[in-house]
């Protein structure tokens, strides 16, 4: 009997309880061990980059904010920074402080969310319930400060749209105090809880060399000893004015990634306290032109999941000529295949979850050249509708009552 016969293929995704978004991981399994993983992305493509080219800069702000449901503020800030750089806008200091404050609050809610998801992936639902209960504190705070729990809509070209009142500052500190208390408990838990340690330690190994070679970013890279953080290396917002430590770890595994994220939570609390203490007075907005002058800019931003890069090219009109987003998950997916090598099936969910993936941020259109069908071609909207109608007719479903766009009945 050859080896081939012992390999079982199991599909994890596109629909699978371990994945919060549709992506496909085809696993070759030898017993309980993973033999090979084939990833396929693209189920979440929404055409946001193209959509940005057809909208004005202000409209784009709200569109890029919807790239991600968790780090929405990261994308919005990264985009607005690039546009402001092209337009040469000097953003008021108070606005920068508010942006940084909300960014750090977002990091807190993102990391707490991650901790809960990680707990769920290893069957530790109690951790999920606890962290998500605590995360609610920061979510409510964000809603109070910005008006929304996610997709804050706070940024605008040249500043922010909402000021933080002096009465709100103490409530921020109060939330931070209670969250710090809880985070200390989770740190203690991570150090002492045996089953948690057993499931996380030595799982999803990624050496420092591999992390560098595969271009990992964010907590994934920092847990492999790569000392990189855009907030310190290329400061933006108010990060020049605050002192913080870049948390790194040398475990190089999922446990290390947990340690880094917990450490970053503690750092985030310290940053928030400094920002609240030193919040400058003054305006929160400068007037931005409707037409952005010709030029291009790359904006780097340390999102909770890693470095987020936005590229914007302006051509002097109200709309950008090109917007390109490199979400942190795209940088980290390469590392996942490496981490899964020689792993167990049981570790697959936590290894994938450990990069804190956001597939909808990552997905781009994939062009598939079908063998035998000739060169690639573009379908118009009418053609596509007709194709769909024919497809269902062949299956015996008659969609003739559906009217196509343009008024013509199928």
């Amino acid at each position: 009997m050859s080896d081939i016969e012992h390999i079982v293929q199991i599909p994890v995704g596109p629909q699978h309880p371990a994945l919060k978004e549709p992506e496909s991981f085809m696993i070759d399994l030898r017993g309980e061990k993973i033999d090979a993983v084939r990833m396929r992305f693209g189920y979440n493509h929404r055409g946001i980059e193209k959509g940005c080219e057809q909208r004005s800069y202000t409209q784009d702000l709200y569109l890029v904010e919807r790239i991600c449901g968790i780090c929405s503020y990261s994308h919005s800030t990264a985009f607005v920074q690039a546009v402001e750089e092209i337009a040469g806008l000097e953003v008021p200091r108070r606005a920068l402080y508010i942006r940084t404050l909300v960014a750090e609050l977002e990091r807190v809610h993102s990391h707490l969310l991650w901790l809960g998801v990680a707990g769920h992936e290893i069957g530790f639902d109690t951790l999920l319930m606890y962290t998500w209960r605590d995360r609610e504190l920061v979510m409510i705070l964000l809603a109070q400060l910005t008006g929304n729990r996610v997709n804050y809509g706070l940024n605008t070209l040249g500043g922010v749209r909402r000021d933080i009142t002096s009465e709100q500052l103490p409530s921020i500190l109060k939330v931070v105090d209670s969250l710090e208390e809880r985070t200390k408990y989770y740190i203690e838990l991570a150090q002492t809880e045996e089953t948690l340690r057993q499931r996380l330690a030595n799982v999803g190994k990624l050496s420092k060399e591999d992390a560098l070679a595969l271009g990992a970013v964010g907590p994934t890279a920092r847990a492999s000893g790569v000392d990189r953080d855009t907030r310190r290396d290329d400061p933006y917002g108010a990060y020049r004015d605050v002192s913080f430590k870049v948390v790194t770890d040398n475990h190089c595994d999922v446990y290390g990634r947990t340690v880094v994220r917990l450490g970053e939570l503690m750092e985030a609390y310290s940053i928030i306290r400094q920002l609240v203490k030193n919040m400058p007075d003054g305006p929160i907005l400068v007037k931005a032109p409707r037409r952005i002058p010709e030029g291009e800019a790359v904006s780097r931003y340390e999102a909770p999941r890693g470095e987020d890069v936005h590229y914007v090219r302006a051509n002097g009109t109200e709309k950008p000529e090109r917007v390109k987003v490199r979400a942190p998950t795209l940088a980290n997916t390469q590392a996942v295949a490496k981490m899964l090598e020689d792993g167990y099936l049981a570790d697959l969910p936590i290894v994938i979850a450990a990069i804190d993936p956001c597939f909808s941020c990552t997905d781009r259109m994939i062009g598939i050249n079908d063998h035998g069908s000739g060169p690639r071609r573009v379908m118009s909207w009418e053609e596509l509708s007709r194709y769909g109608v024919d497809f269902y007719r062949r299956k015996g479903i008659d969609p003739s009552r559906i009217t196509l766009r343009g008024g013509s009945a199928a």
Binding site: Q9, E32, F124, M129, Y130, T195, L345, A346
Partner: protein, 313 residues
């Protein structure tokens, strides 16, 4: 005893019907405690009943690839085996319906059948997730069953009988001696988590890996009966542990003995709920290592303790 009385005992009280009510109540206790320990509200008391009837009303899909007979029979066999094993366990009256020398092993054997039906049901579903869950079920079985067996037979060694009612009589006439079996009780509790496939040993139905394992393809009334079998199995296993390791309260007045029995079951279920709250799911290899290298030696220690105690007393 007339045939009608025996039939009543088997079907209504304390047999089939009673056990099912108790199983659903046990599921509620487990879910509510689990939820409260996690800072959640938890389900209302009628939720397990509502879930059961909801599932009965749902469409029961049998996969085209599946072996129809095995697929449909597995839940029935699981429930049947669990109920059958309960007849031999003294619940609160010292003597169950049919008691004989060796019924301890019969009970353990019958309680093994549900796990086998998980394997068969999953295997004949022909779905990849079910198959993996089935294989994991049976692999896990070999890890926890032996320590459980050793733990349960060591009190029997001390009592010098292979019948559960005999053990109950021995420990009732020698009050306090059950305290020698506390190690065995701990081992039994840990292995019960494996038998009932609860965290940290819920590997065969690890949701984030293999969806629902064995039960992935099950729906409607088949799933309802599988779940009922698992709930009842929890009660019957707890009753076995109560009879073997906590053999007190059997000589009391019937209603008092009944309350003591309920208290014991409740305590065991509460400990199981607590254990599944505080742990993460282990990996299959870690679970097997743990069971063979830690739990099994502790179980043997219990045997040793019982043998020494028997010599000394």
């Amino acid at each position: 005893m007339t045939a009608a009385a025996a039939l009543f005992q088997m079907l209504i009280f304390p047999g089939f019907f009673f056990l099912i009510i108790l199983g659903l109540a046990g599921q509620f206790v487990d879910r509510k405690l689990y939820a409260r320990l996690q800072n959640r509200v938890g389900p209302p008391w009628f939720q397990p009943v509502a879930d059961f009837f909801k599932l009965l009303g749902k469409e029961s899909v049998i996969p085209e690839e599946a072996d129809k007979r095995m697929f449909t029979l597995a839940p029935v066999f699981a429930l049947g085996a669990v109920i059958a094993s309960s007849f031999y366990i003294p619940l609160w009256n010292a003597k169950p319906l049919p008691a004989f020398e060796g019924d301890l092993l019969v009970v353990l054997y019958l309680l093994l059948i549900p796990t086998l039906t998980f394997f068969l049901g999953g295997w004949y579903s022909r779905s990849i997730f079910s198959t993996l869950g089935a294989v994991r079920s049976i692999t896990q079985l070999f890890a926890y069953e032996i320590p459980l067996l050793i733990a349960v037979i060591s009190p029997a060694l001390l009592a010098n009988t292979w019948s559960i009612s005999g053990m109950v009589q021995y420990y009732t006439s020698h009050p306090g001696r059950w305290l020698f079996n506390l190690i065995g009780l701990a081992v039994a509790m840990v292995t019960l988590l494996g038998k009932l496939e609860k965290v940290p040993f819920d590997i065969p139905e690890a949701e984030t890996e293999i969806v629902a394992g064995t039960f992935t393809e099950y729906s409607g009334r088949f799933l309802a009966f599988f779940r009922l079998a698992i709930d009842t199995e929890a009660i019957v296993s707890a009753s076995l542990v109560a009879a073997v390791f906590l053999p007190f309260g059997f000589g009391l007045a019937p209603w008092l003995a009944f309350l003591v029995y309920l208290a014991k079951i409740l305590a065991i279920l509460a400990v199981l709920a607590l254990l599944r709250t505080v742990f993460a799911r282990l990996r299959l290899d870690q679970m097997i290592n743990f069971c063979w290298k830690v739990v099994a030696p502790i179980a043997f220690l219990q045997v040793l303790v019982d043998l020494v105690v028997k010599e000394l007393l």
